[in-house]
Amino acid sequence: MADLVVDLHDLWFAEQSCTEMAQAHTQAASTVGGCDAADALDRPAGIGLGSSGFYSDWSYLRDQIVGMLTTNASSLDDSAAAMRICIDTFTSTDADVAQDFKERQAAIPYE
């Protein structure tokens, strides 16, 4: 049982790390998605590539980058969720494991 608790505690560390990395991706996606160059590129229609310059290509690339950040965020987030499910399935059926796991979490916190 001691080994199972150690493994669950390790799994919990992996879950926390994946959650943090998912959040980083989500936050980056939000920053990138919130960046809009429409006003900055605005000018009269007779200048450069027209009134919005290269905006449509730029915003397409931006959305693509938001897309890949979001995809990676979901993969990490859902994997973290899977790890929580796994921890739950082992702790919900055995009160002693649950108790030992809780104590180990308190003794070796994630930081």
Partner: protein, 365 residues
Amino acid sequence: MSDNYGDVRGEATTLVDRFAELETRHQAMLAFETAAEDGSLDDAHAWTNERRARELQVYSDQWYGEIRSWFEDIEELFDELADLPDPGTLLSTAQSLNPALSIMSGPSGHTDISGGTEYAPSASFDKLQSVPTYLADWNGIAADAFKSNFIPPLERVAHNEFEAIVSLRSPLLAAGEMWKQARKDVSDLIDETNSALDDYEGGKGAADAVLALSIIGAVVAVAAVPFTGGTSAALYWAIAGSAIGVTGAVVGYPAEPKKELDISGDTPADIAVSLRQAVADMKLQWIENEIFIRDKIRSLTDLISGYTAPSEDSPPLPRYPNVGAPTSGHTYSQATVHEFSLPRPALADTTPGNAQDDDHFGKPD
């Protein structure tokens, strides 16, 4: 050079007034000489000062309005040039992406090679390399795949994401530099035109030197802002991963239709012609510069979609997925796509019912 850009419209109106005034005088002198030749006026060279002033006034009262109308298009020309994109707004928009770079700098940190800024390791990623160790005793199929296929490339992919954000920012920095120089060129054009009119007015031939477009200097700056790291292009894509078969694909220079603008002419009207031509040449250069930037953006879009052009000389169009299917010259690689977006791990689809199955986490050894 004076900085006229703050009041381009006012400067243009003053310029049109000068064209009209000097062309009126020019036309008056032609008229006096012609009239002397056909005998309807006596020799203008011999007039008294009073007579000179009077004759000029009579001529100007009659013709100034019409002559001014010959130059009024110049005001419209500059009306458009007065509203070029604001370099400051472009710069601040570009910089608003910096927080995303800080977050995505990965477990080891990265240098933003476009500006040399060092981004410290991101705390969110500090246990990334330990995740496989944490999962060492979880040997279900999905857990093993997660340890060996998802986590190990994640650091590299996060770096590619970092570089992609840098590449999204670069066009805005490049455009900021470009329009800053373009505004200077507009301002210089006004100065050069006034100078040409000064020479006409003072009875002097045009000077030899001509106005070198500073936008050409900006072209170098545009190219130096790395979509792929400028001179460090090879390094950039080496970092981006061996799966990406692109070497320096997007380093180059925009076409340069005209490097120098020559504002001169034997008469005010001729000078106006050269001014109109110079504005056209300048605007053409802006189009070339923006096409250059746009094509860099398209190359990256193609790359993230898995499509790469066969060589750096290949045209970026037609392209996937904006414009139908890729050309036969473009090659598709799913591995390239995965350098940016990792395939969803099977582990992510675990449910309470299957978590302990051998297909998923299994039971720890």
